[in-house]
């Protein structure tokens, strides 16, 4: 098993946290995992992205060129990464923000109104966790419980009161049925 994932969106959407949470969950599930951020000037003003590789065997380069899973949380990210998802891969689109979906017919597309759903939970910033939950429902990468358990290690202690909300968001995403 190996998944090459790119998480992309704008600053404030918790893009780095998505990658860290799933990486931590992968580590505690005994997988090989690497996490690599976009860094420096690249981050400023535009989209931020992080690359995560989860594998049963040793991972060479942590750089993801053609993701098996692309997660795009805003429109510029959709534009940038839509074409990069490899054939047969999965593209998760935060439809609330992108407005449009994908026209590709050679990949699995999951459109989810993550920000709207997060709004329903009372915090727009939980959209990232909703998307994560949805990925785990679509692809058997890790047990969803491992992701829930990772939060206390990847969320700074001062924000620990937010953990229950984030777990709720993961659950909501996991249970989301697009049909």
């Amino acid at each position: 098993m190996r998944e090459d994932i790119i998480f992309a969106g704008f600053g404030g959407q918790g893009i780095m946290l998505m990658g860290k949470a799933i990486s931590y969950a992968a580590m505690s599930s005994g997988k090989f995992v690497t996490w690599m951020p976009s860094y420096g000037a690249e981050v400023r003003g535009g989209t931020a992205h992080s690359m995560v590789i989860i594998s049963d065997s040793y991972i060479g380069s942590p750089i993801v060129r053609d993701p098996s899973i692309g997660v795009v949380m805003n429109k510029p990210s959709l534009t940038k990464f839509e074409s990069k998802v490899r054939k047969g891969g999965l593209l998760v689109i935060n439809k609330s923000i992108t407005g449009t979906g994908s026209t590709r017919d050679d990949i699995d597309i999951l459109e989810i109104p993550a920000t709207e759903m997060a709004s329903g939970l009372g915090n727009l910033r939980a959209a990232n966790m909703i998307a994560l939950g949805a990925i785990l429902a679509r692809r058997e990468i890790l047990p969803v419980q491992a992701l829930m358990d990772s939060l206390e290690f990847v969320i700074p202690e001062s924000r620990h009161p937010m953990i229950p909300l984030n777990r709720e968001a993961i659950k909501k995403g996991y249970e989301y049925d697009p049909c």
Binding site: M27, T34, M36, G40, A41, Y58, G60, S61, I63, F153
Partner: protein, 351 residues
Amino acid sequence: MAKKILMCGNEVLAEAAIIAGCRFYAGYPITPQNELPAYMSKRMPEVGGIFIQAESEISAINMVFGASLRGARAMTSSSSPGISLKQEGISYLAGCELPALIVNIMRGGPGLGNIAPSQSDYFQATRGGGHGDYRQIVLAPASLQEIADLTMLSFDLADKYRTPVMILGDGILGQMMEPVELASRLETQDSRQKKDWILDGCKGRKPRIIRSLLLGKGELEELNNRLQRRYKEIKDKEVRCEILYGDDSDVMLVAYGTTSRICSNVVKDLRARGKKVGLVRPVSLWPFPEKQLKELAERVKSFLVVEMSCGQMIEDVKLSIECKRPVHFYGRSGGEVPAEDEIIREVEKIA
């Protein structure tokens, strides 16, 4: 067994240094190593250590010089352009026989270059970027676990040989996260050798002088001869390298750091297809694994050196095997990272 943790390479390095007993850090911000000083600024006060954000890399390395001669385990870190500025200080550390750790999380050059990962400071690191007849031990980790292990080793080697040691990483290793175990070595610090050469005030002993100006006839040559004897000992004892499929390979890849991770996947891929390909991964870049490569040259048909540079380590490979076999090169520079399929194509051209 220690618990696995998830931190970025820069933070792993900082924590490993603290575990190894480093209690003095001075540095100046530069991407892509900023997580390292940030971590130190938080951790050093917690362990009774010193963190200083210096006014320049030049000042930082000289603060390390002062801390080291006072007996502290001391370090600085930077990235390529900042390391150029530290060269003066490194030469003085070598001339004064002072231990210190210098970390270079390499970025693209020359000049201001860019902030993307690179391996183009190999010459500077292994040849001694500063003036004079000196060497420094250069260690090149390829994983975050190795960053932790080699950082701890660096301080021991620096103290043992009274020499600056450089850890040569790149932007990927500094920024990425992967699981790592940090062994607790705090309790072993007492086993460190006592430093009987430091300046701590001349109470109960004759005053000491630490200097590198040696004007008397023959004095400087004597220092250089002493350093060379030490460098020879380091070459004899401190070569570190990893070899994959050394017994039956036709083509041997040679790569270090991040590039070696990519090459190890290439080897796995090609082996699965029945190709006899192996990998030499120098862990110590100085001393370079000359003997290992020379021995391999007896069996291997050719070498392919892969670097994130325009070709620097390749010179050491050629020197080591005395040009007995063809040595090919594949490199990407300016912050570009060689992809597995690109390297596979290069191997296929050769074999």
